[in-house]
Symmetry: C2
Subunit: 122 residues, 2 copies
């Protein structure tokens, strides 16, 4: 069973974290049969943490967890912090496949989405 | 003539700011005839500033500037800081239409782009 774990930075604003939870619900709807489990986790300032999020996916029955960084640029968080958080859980569960997907901003499709967003009345 | 001004947060990492400039070039290619001018500006930590970016668009001949926040959540930057930066320029150039588009994360299409990103090998 494959799980998708969306990783956001986390914010002091509860509304921003709730936005991520809402997005996660939308993702679960759209994922169809690709991911039986769709959850989110936060690098900091909100719960669950990345290790706790991975743990929840495994408890839900995931044999594979795709960690998906909801970040626009390849900064320290993407390059170091997220892999560091994932590593401990991978060591703890060597029989589970944990794969870190590219960060969102790396997808060239973001340009088309930006152009579409630009044409929406504010 | 319509200009598209992509607003990113700005980073201490030069590579992150260069990523935005590269994205801006990609947007210019894809925008076709919709936007004769495509530029970027930064809220902080990088140049040009938002007022300077708007100024550049107007000097390039823009009669309308669409300000597009490259942000994933509706935090203080999107709700207050960007509008505040734009306001001064709008007051300075009342005959130019400056419109702030929704921020990227508000586009529901982001869910599909995330699912697509999840399936890309890292």
């Amino acid at each position: 069973m494959q799980a998708l774990l969306v990783i956001a930075h986390g914010s002091r604003r509860a509304e921003s974290n709730d936005e991520i939870r809402e997005l996660t619900r939308l993702l679960a709807e759209r994922a169809g049969s690709d991911y039986a489990i769709v959850r989110c986790a936060f690098l900091e300032l909100a719960e669950p943490s990345i290790p706790d999020g991975i743990e929840q996916c495994i408890r839900d029955g995931a044999g594979e967890v795709v960690v998906l960084p909801y970040f626009l640029s390849a900064g320290r968080h993407v390059a170091q912090d997220i892999p560091n958080e994932v590593r401990g859980k991978q060591d703890e569960y060597p029989h589970i496949t944990i794969r870190i997907a590219p960060y969102l901003g790396a997808n060239a499709g973001i340009a088309d989405l930006l152009l579409e967003t630009a044409s929406v009345p504010a």
